[in-house]
């Protein structure tokens, strides 16, 4: 039988592993709602992970690392926004190009900066549990003792849901993705909304990336995002472009990833490869439409 302790550990690690996906996913959701498909979430996350690690290592302050990670993604996000909106480039191709470029730059930069020190631990964030929740027996520490970025991510996700649903800015984002013509006639700039949305994706993805490097494991490895950005995009499709369902999808992918560590610990004999594959397999089944009809924004990937 599954003990309460191991269930608590499983829930805690599911949340932890879902966090980078959640941040990238929420960012991507806003951008897709505004009509821009960012295939470069992966590259944006990797930029944040790399610059955050370098910043934290150079200054000794994880919080400065976080700030540097967020700053470093701005040129990447601006490049994507410029390609997708001003140059009307194919959004998929330009995003994949950015991902290849970022993978090359971060791999090269990592070797040049860290070199032989590659296995060094980088200063990172400690863990924290909210006052009352942390005191719950068994579950308190295992589930709620997390890096504060996890709570920040959840708070931003909820705030994004409220902004999208109840504010004029949310309406403008939604309209830019559904009826850009109407937005233009109303006097708002479709491209300005879309630039803003892509920058938001960049910042959120970078936040997720810095969580990976200086929040979760306190080191950087080459290409450490390992497709998390693509999973985030799949989560948006799985979530049918709605915040609540996207959060659910990220938690599901996080839980699937957590099984990798949980099942072997429980003595269940399942091939490791199958467990590593599981989140991608779930994401594939999700985008394959096994979860009901998909209703993408009407003008997704169509430049204005």
């Amino acid at each position: 039988m599954i003990s309460a302790e191991s269930a608590a550990v499983f829930i805690g690690s599911s949340i932890r592993l879902a966090t980078p996906l959640l941040m990238g996913g929420i960012g991507e959701l806003v951008s897709e709602r505004a009509g821009v498909l960012n295939m470069s979430v992966e590259g944006m996350m990797l930029t944040g992970a790399f610059a955050g690690a370098v910043g934290s290592w150079a200054t000794g302050q994880p919080i400065l690392g976080l700030a540097i990670g967020l700053l470093a993604v701005l040129p990447v996000a601006l490049l994507q926004a410029w390609l997708s909106n001003t140059l009307r480039a194919n959004q998929i191709v330009s995003g994949i190009g950015i991902n290849i470029l970022v993978l090359g730059v971060t791999t090269l930069g990592y070797r040049e900066i860290f070199g032989e020190r590659s296995s060094d631990e980088i200063p990172g964030f400690g863990k924290w549990a909210p006052p009352l929740l942390g005191d719950i027996p068994v579950f308190g520490q295992a589930v709620f003792l997390q890096v504060w970025i996890v709570y920040l991510g959840l708070a931003i996700a909820v705030a994004t849901m409220l902004v999208l649903r109840f504010t004029a800015a949310g309406l403008a984002v939604h309209a830019a993705g559904m009826e850009p013509g109407a937005v233009d006639k109303s006097g708002l700039s479709v491209n300005r909304i879309r630039y803003g949305a892509v920058l938001f994706t960049g910042l959120m993805s970078a936040l997720g990336g810095t969580f990976l490097s200086i929040g979760d494991i306190h080191t950087f490895t080459e290409g450490m995002t390992r497709g998390a950005g693509y999973l985030a995009i799949a989560a948006v499709i799985f979530g049918n472009w709605k915040v609540g369902r996207t959060i659910g999808a990220c938690l599901l992918f996080g839980a699937a990833t957590a099984l990798q560590f949980q099942l072997p610990a429980m003595g269940v004999d399942i091939p490791n490869a199958l467990l590593i594959m599981l989140p991608y397999l779930l994401a594939f089944l999700a985008v394959a439409g096994l979860v009901g009809r998909q209703s993408a924004p009407a003008s997704l990937t169509v430049p204005w």
């Binding site: 191709v93 330009s94 190009g97 470029l101 090359g104 091939p271 994401a283 439409g289």
Partner: protein, 353 residues
């Protein structure tokens, strides 16, 4: 949905993008502190320095060309196949399985190496066709589905070489590596020359033949016209009586099948053993080759040669001169971004077509 790449005078833009990216790569090498002379020497050694280096570069180009031709074929119907990596992986798995355990030894001459190739084509076609079926049945964006299928395939390969029940070689001692047995000599691809210092295998003429057939299909026959009609306006194409869904699936079957064949050539012509990391980024390089070609099969051959030699030179620069292979990756990234950005600029100028 996505803008298709047009053939035409875009060749100048492609050349410009490649030249600018290569220049930047040279600057990077200088910044890293590697003497440019050493890097150039290593690059020349690894590309045209010997008959063996030339053959290795050409064999690499052949793999990129197959993935690139598949990309161009599917892209004619406005389908973007970014799943080359996974199609190579499943092709490699299928070819290994048939070559090792398909009882091909006693078959008439030729069949022992042809059957694994056919199995690889079938596996790749399945992997690509799956994305095509999802596209037509559920409207799933083929970019995201082929990407996810690639991740699945890469881990499937890892599973195959880790598990004794699958393709891992029998454990004789604790140091047995997690990889397959080496395939037998009769399942390896025959060389086109008798000279073993120039190991060009039959993958080269086969790929050239496929290139000619695809070029004719795309430019001379009704197939290319129909694919283009579907790509430009699927509703109008359907009204005109074209079986759009069938063509879309077929286009992805072809693209995937060529990716699978590329995997067979890598296994049977070069590596002979299936191991983790088998596809090693060749699928993504092939994708870039397809993008560079801007819709033309001749363009695929040219950019496949460019990338084959670039990759060989990159490997040699890393081994001999200590230039990180990431430099080549940066060059590739810049090329893709520059070409994606230039596509609209050219259409606005009306220089395409």
């Amino acid at each position: 949905m996505s803008r298709r790449y047009q053939p035409g005078p875009g060749i100048l833009i492609s050349i410009g993008a490649v030249a600018a990216a290569v220049l930047l790569g040279i600057v990077l090498i200088a910044l890293i502190g590697v003497p440019i002379g050493d890097a150039v020497d290593a690059f020349v050694d690894g590309t045209v320095g010997s008959a063996y280096a030339i053959a290795a570069s050409v064999n690499r180009s052949v793999v990129f060309a197959l993935v690139g031709i598949g990309f161009v074929f599917a892209n004619r119907a406005n389908l973007t196949n970014v799943g080359g990596e996974g199609q190579i992986a499943v092709g490699g798995i299928a070819a290994t399985a048939v070559a090792l355990y398909g009882h091909v030894a006693g078959l008439p001459p030729g069949l022992p190496f042809v059957l694994p190739m056919l199995a690889a084509v079938a596996a790749g076609a399945l992997w690509g066709g799956l994305a095509g079926i999802l596209k037509t049945r559920a409207g799933t964006n083929e970019v995201i589905s082929t990407l996810l299928l690639s991740f699945i395939a890469v881990w499937l390969l890892y599973w195959c070489v880790q598990s004794n029940a699958l393709l891992r070689q029998p454990m004789t001692n604790s140091a047995t590596l997690p990889e397959s047995l080496e395939i037998s000599d009769i399942t390896k691809l025959p060389l086109v020359t008798a000279d073993p210092s120039l190991p060009l295998n039959i993958g080269l003429p086969l790929t050239l033949l496929i290139a000619v057939v695809v070029a004719i299909l795309l430019t001379r026959g009704t197939v290319g016209l129909r694919l283009r009609a579907i790509g430009l306006n699927p509703v109008a194409a359907r009204r005109a009586g074209i079986a759009t869904e069938w063509y879309a699936v077929a286009a992805m079957l072809v693209a995937g099948g060529l990716g699978g064949l590329a995997g067979a050539l890598m296994l049977q012509g070069d590596q002979y053993v299936l191991k983790d990391g088998f596809s090693s980024g060749y699928g993504f390089d092939g994708l870039v080759v397809g993008l560079l070609a801007r819709g033309s099969v001749v363009g695929v051959i040219a950019s496949a040669l460019l990338f084959g030699f670039l990759r060989s030179g990159g490997i040699s620069m890393e081994l001999q001169a200590g230039v990180p292979s990431a430099v080549v990756q940066i060059i590739q990234g810049i090329i893709v971004v520059a070409l994606a950005g230039a596509a609209y600029w050219m259409e606005r100028r009306g220089t395409t077509r």
